[in-house]
Symmetry: C2
Subunit: 536 residues, 2 copies
């Protein structure tokens, strides 16, 4: 067989050749813009050429600080297309962490949305590897900025070569992209994606039983393009010729509902918070929108509450697909779809399956282990999920924390799961959050979900607290809804029928708000810290 | 990224783990049998183990002479799963050619359906590399045969290891399969498939806009498993958990219609002759069958006549998908699906698109060249189709004819095509059949289709015949239907409005039958030979 290297450039080349008239609809700070793949292709080639003119060489890192728009899409292809490495910076990281990752990656050029210039201006004296700033602006004039040298993206494109030929003498294992995890503790860890990994991931995402990305789709990735490749959708959608809708900066639920309605979006992807917001908007202004084009709402990042899945499916008839992955996995690992013979189950049984994270996509392998070895696939035993395959990272970039997560050829995800007989995984906890009580494991997520299902509860977090007899026992921190009231004993009584006796928290503490990370996850380490002596 | 080798064993392993209850329905000479993937998986492991016990080593060729049934499916996974090479022998080849390919491949073990024992018995003294014959029979007793040593497939399985572990320390570029082309002249040419090639082919075949092979599918490959991997369907269907229906030996249109009806087949694949037969059966006994489960009839091997596509779509509401490939291409290269914006075209315009061979699937590249270089994608210019990519052969196995077909990193397909602006290819001829008249190219296939559309014509072949002035001119050989009649002048008048003047054949010759190859294609070289002096 021919070598037929798996390079990312083939994706944009196919879009140019087979889908020149299909569109990318891009919302930027100046409004909605429409580009054909022919235009995007030419602009991508110009961007590669422009970066080359700026001195970017093969293997160099070029970073983006940007929302989801057409220029970010061009960067997705132009940077790996010239043999450089696309480093998507999470603009929600602290300035300190942004400094760290720019230096750690040794970024040479930064492509930046005008609204993020203040971030860079604040750290400009601490990022010595950066040789040029390129402002992704629609305006003719560059904003005033002390950054130097600074260029206008559009001006660079104007002067660049529209017929730039993408570099083909790469190895398919060469780095194409890079992303840092938003760690809850310590510095962000870097993950490097290869051309091969991203290409295979795109194929798996396009499978009929996976993302089923199709030419007939109108795909709107709401998940930011700085989060694990926007789950790979910009790559797959371009390769397979889908129309793409890029929602741009600071979007609202109202804006998303409008875009779905006007652009007839068929497939969209984001974290539960986004869909919770969309649901509220639909409930409030149902008549204003038309959701009938949607064939899939992909949801990942954290577990979607059952009630939300139910609302999408039953109230709005929108198929809801739960997925699981992480920065280290490009990211798609599992995806929840019913098997054909599960279609006959009751609505409740089906919802329960869809609320799980699904089964492993073709190309990867999973297993889960606990202290006794590999767990059985019985839907009960809990173990840490391990993943391996061609789009799974095998290290953190120049980071000694590699050895904690990558062992014996497997990625240790740090997620505790059960796996049922159908191969469907259910995330029950993070390894570090799991309560280990007298040798048994207690899932804090299961407890939290149960507590949060109580009408009076706004949010809840459960942590393991040191205990003289049982090593650890669960304690719940609960925030009550405004104008609601509930006593500790009432809540405990509410939980008792749902769990084994030894799962019930030793205490419930009421708080005004829970500590959270920059991306809105419960900051359990802070809570544990606070409750260190609570049960002694 | 992890290496994550692309090995075929992952497909059957996934079916065992995720789809243990799903079924393979297999028709053998003794009737219909049903096996779950759990059973198929265990039997596959036993077969690997049994072959190991017979002395098969990594890299050895193990050949099959078999129809489409569960044992052949097991061989598809057991042989590459142990690091050996699956050589599927086309049982329609002449004895002389079968001797040649067994010796050329140096097959070590032959797996054979009982009905093909006579073939092997006739050539047994000419295949010295073969060390064992395994009879794939349902019967307890082996048939009497002079072949030696001879084993019963089922007996070997009984004694073998059900927990055999597939070999993982292979290179993904290692050979996994082998198939010989049924050449019209000369000896068959061998093509070797790699694990990587077959795996990537399976992913591309599973994409939503390609074969869209899904767990919810009931896939019936009618194309024989000795023809280019049954177009890759057994691999993809197993990997993605589809139910499979194997139609077994000597099936009839009636049997196929029955299987589609009773097993609710959703997707099937075969050559035009098969579908012509099915159409006739449906026309004759419509009420006996239910075709409503079918979502795709994949058709390849040669061009399907427009009338047949129309009948499937309009009369029976069965979506008909034209595809193109060859033994050298694993085989999928192009597949005809309408783009979303083509759905608004008229029925006739859509049929015309579907009658073409479609556009290139993700992962491959095509172009077409003629004497002046690469042709434009304008739907008019003709050129030889070139293909490259990771599941395209780069040589014929130990064969000096390699250099004729593989040049500059491309496979020269020998097919003359036009490519339109949408990237849709249309096969207009074989390079060797094309008529080159005064520097212009004339498609014999277009002429033949036009002549065969005449009510009185049963079949027709057009060949280029040496001409003193124009180098070559087309001459048509025509077989008239029984009880019909048509004169040469009438036929020529019928053609004139449809073609440029210089395309019209210089002569039409009426024959009782046309010379054909073993697989039913017109043997144009014999016809050309005969007409050598016709226009001098």
């Amino acid at each position: 067989m021919m070598e037929g290297k798996l390079l990312i450039s083939q994706m944009i080349e196919r879009a140019e050749k087979l889908f020149p008239k299909k569109e990318v609809i891009s919302r930027t700070s100046s409004g909605i813009h429409r580009f054909t793949y022919q235009q995007i292709g030419e602009r991508t080639r110009r961007l590669s050429s422009a970066l080359e003119n700026l001195g970017v060489e093969r293997g160099d890192k070029v970073a983006t600080l940007a929302w989801n728009d057409h220029r970010h899409l061009e960067a997705y292809f132009a940077i790996p297309g010239m043999g450089a490495v696309l480093h998507t910076i999470n603009i929600r990281l602290s300035a300190e962490h942004i400094i760290h990752i720019i230096n750690h990656a040794e970024d040479k050029v930064l492509l930046v949305d005008p609204m993020f210039l203040p971030i860079l201006e604040g750290i400009k004296d601490h990022i010595p590897t950066v040789r040029a700033f390129v402002v992704m602006t629609d305006d003719d004039e560059l904003p005033d900025t002390p950054l130097t040298p600074v260029y206008s993206y559009e001006d660079l494109l104007l002067e660049a070569n529209p017929d730039y030929e993408f570099v083909k003498d790469l190895d398919e294992n060469d780095p194409a992209g890079m992303c840092f995890t938003s760690a809850t503790t310590g510095k962000p860890k870097g993950v490097v994606y290869s051309h091969r990994g991203i290409t295979l991931h795109s194929l798996s995402l396009g499978l009929a039983d996976s993302g089923a990305v199709s030419e007939s789709d109108v795909v709107m990735p709401v998940v930011p393009m700085f989060h694990a490749n926007a789950w790979g959708l910009p790559f797959a959608s371009t390769w397979f010729g889908s129309t793409q809708v890029m929602p741009g900066p600071l979007f609202t639920p109202e804006l998303l509902a409008e875009l779905i309605t006007t652009e007839k979006v068929t497939s969209t992807a984001g974290v539960p918070t986004i869909w919770l917001g969309l649901l509220k908007e639909l409930d409030a202004n149902k008549d204003r929108y038309d959701m009938s084009s949607l064939r899939a709402v992909l949801c990942g990042g954290s577990a979607a509450p059952m009630g939300m899945i139910r609302a999408f499916e039953e109230k709005y008839n929108i198929p809801f697909i739960h997925a699981y992955g992480m920065t280290e996995t490009t990211p798609l690992v599992t995806l929840s779809r019913l098997k054909s013979y599960q279609e006959d189950l009751s609505t409740e049984e089906k919802l329960e399956i869809r609320a799980k994270q699904g089964s492993v996509v073709p190309g990867l392998e999973i297993k889960a282990i606990n202290d006794e070895g590999e767990i059985e696939w019985n839907g009960k035993d809990m173990g840490e999920l391990l993943v391996r395959g061609p789009w799974i990272a095998d290290e953190y970039y120049n980071d000694e924390r590699t050895e904690g997560a990558f062992k014996d050829g497997w990625l240790y995800t740090g997620d505790i799961v059960t796996i049922d007989q159908e191969g469907t995984i259910k995330i029950t906890d993070r390894t570090k959050d799991l309560v280990k009580s007298g040798g048994e494991w207690i899932s804090t997520i299961d407890l939290e979900n149960a507590i949060m299902a109580h009408d009076a509860v706004f949010e809840a977090a459960v942590v393991g607290v040191p205990h003289p007899e049982w090593q650890e026992r669960p304690v719940a921190a609960v925030v009550i809804k405004p104008d609601e009231n509930v006593e500790k004993e009432e809540l405990l009584d509410y939980l008792k029928p749902q769990f084994a006796k030894w799962w019930i928290p030793d205490d419930i503490i009421f708080m005004d708000e829970l500590p959270k990370t920059s991306v809105g996850k419960f900051q359990k380490n802070a809570l544990r810290e606070k409750l260190q002596e609570h049960l002694v």
